[in-house]
Symmetry: C2
Subunit: 289 residues, 2 copies
């Protein structure tokens, strides 16, 4: 049970955590903090938060602080949360990149980061903002934590329990490994989807190409509906790994292109079969787990 | 009303047309033709076809022939259908590429192609074969026809009515334009999805990366579940346009990569915003049409 939760950045993720914990009766009061006062008012209207505060003002009696802002803001946000660190409040975040968060924590609070628990819920939607927030967003979704060796056990439990109440499945990863895995299975596909939509949009001439798109295209590009600012931040925070993955992807594409150009039926078929089998094996296995 | 429908290639598409027309009572008898006798037996079991025939044997009293084989087989299939052309049977197809089909028709039957109507249903599934066939596959989906200037009006109506009974929305396109549009909005995304799965699968080491994938990845790669043989054939039949689109896509990716490498926040944000807005505008518009 959380007495007072402070949510920094009340958008899709922050708003959904607040709504879910409230519905479950797991939190008494939620305080919203954000850059945009209009957005915070909407968050009040939809019942995600009970009150509004300022990032620079200590929140009296805060039990947990959840940072759910686009990741490039995390350093500044963490800096302004020195009051919470001093009070020994449990702090966690929901950013899709973890090396940058860990770096900021260690730089800003080299001796007092034991109650800061880095986290990443693997959940999103093609809509953005607190209007899209809902109390089912994390149901059966993964949440990855990348705790420090020195992370306080009670602080870790507090964060784990918060996500369990949201219906999420918890998992832990070393921070470098986290960023590398999610560069490949999440950041890269998002970048690829945005790039496809951008390319098609540039090709639009006399015909509107989108009008001819089917369900496959809609599924493929669904993730290009998520927040532009969030994805800009992720690309810059996880730059080295994403650029590596982009290059690896371009190499695979070029290999396939060569086989198409030379009309090598066996190699093109082999490529598709190998991919198709990998997907069936792993995703169907995952579904049945 | 169709008296006797001959389906060449009773897989997901051919099987679904047969099941849908039968359920609607729009066809009396469906004759299945295919390379794989086991598959034809399954098609009988699921009720898609009533009888089996051989591609080389004329089917007496055939009203309509639907070719639903992977597109590289179409030339051979058309060649063996001279009996149907001679009988004046309406012939149509369901291939995702249309220039190759049109070329074969004009080469094989330069003086008697008026009852051959090239078609392309924009529908698919992440499963393959007649087991995945169902009578809802074409509901509210687009079917594009690319008729010849000399196409017989009654033959065109017959094919249009067949698809209308399946619940599809009909549209016409010039054949070159069809292949160009679908290279961009369908063939390219499929190739990109197969390539991503292949890349991730090659990266799998100590961790199984697929285990960390979320809903976005699943949506993005859903189309990599469709038939490998079908996609090999499409890539080779529509080679020039797909290779052009792949190159254009790689140019867009490289532009984005450069902006990420140079950490150009404005350009990366602008790229994502432009893509996101194009998607919202066109797909939401389409949904509301």
């Amino acid at each position: 049970m959380i007495d007072k939760l402070v949510v920094i950045g009340v958008g899709l993720i922050g708003g959904s955590v607040a709504l879910t914990l409230k519905k479950a009766g797991y939190v008494k009061t939620v305080i919203g903090v954000g850059r945009n006062s209009l957005n915070l008012e909407r968050a009040m209207e939809v019942g995600a938060i009970d009150d509004i505060s300022d990032i620079n003002s200590p929140v009296e009696g805060a039990s947990v602080v959840l940072i759910a802002t686009p990741v490039l803001q995390n350093h500044n946000v963490l800096q302004k949360l020195s009051w919470a660190v001093d009070q020994g409040v449990v702090i966690t975040d929901a950013g899709s990149t973890k090396r940058d968060f860990v770096r900021s924590v260690k730089t800003l609070y080299p001796k007092s980061f034991s109650k800061i628990v880095p986290g990443h819920p693997i959940a999103g939607a093609e809509r953005v903002g607190v209007e899209a927030a809902n109390d089912e967003l994390f149901r059966d979704k993964m949440v990855i934590l990348t705790p420090f060796p020195k992370t306080d056990k009670d602080a870790l439990s507090t964060v784990e329990n918060l996500w369990k109440v949201c219906g999420a499945k918890l998992s832990k990863l070393p921070v470098e490994r986290h960023d590398s895995i999610f560069s490949s299975v999440s950041h890269l596909p998002h970048v690829l989807a945005f790039a496809l939509v951008e390319m098609i949009s540039r090709k639009n001439g006399q015909d509107n190409l989108f009008e001819y798109s089917g369900g496959g295209f809609r599924d493929f590009t669904r993730i290009a509906g998520s927040s532009s600012e969030m994805w800009r931040d992720i690309c810059l925070a996880n730059k080295d790994l994403i650029v590596n993955d982009l290059e690896e992807y371009q190499t695979v594409l070029s290999e396939l292109k060569r086989n198409i150009v030379s009309a090598d039926e066996d190699k093109v078929l082999g490529f598709f079969e190998s991919a198709r089998e990998a997907r069936q094996e792993h995703l169907i296995k995952k579904k049945n787990d």
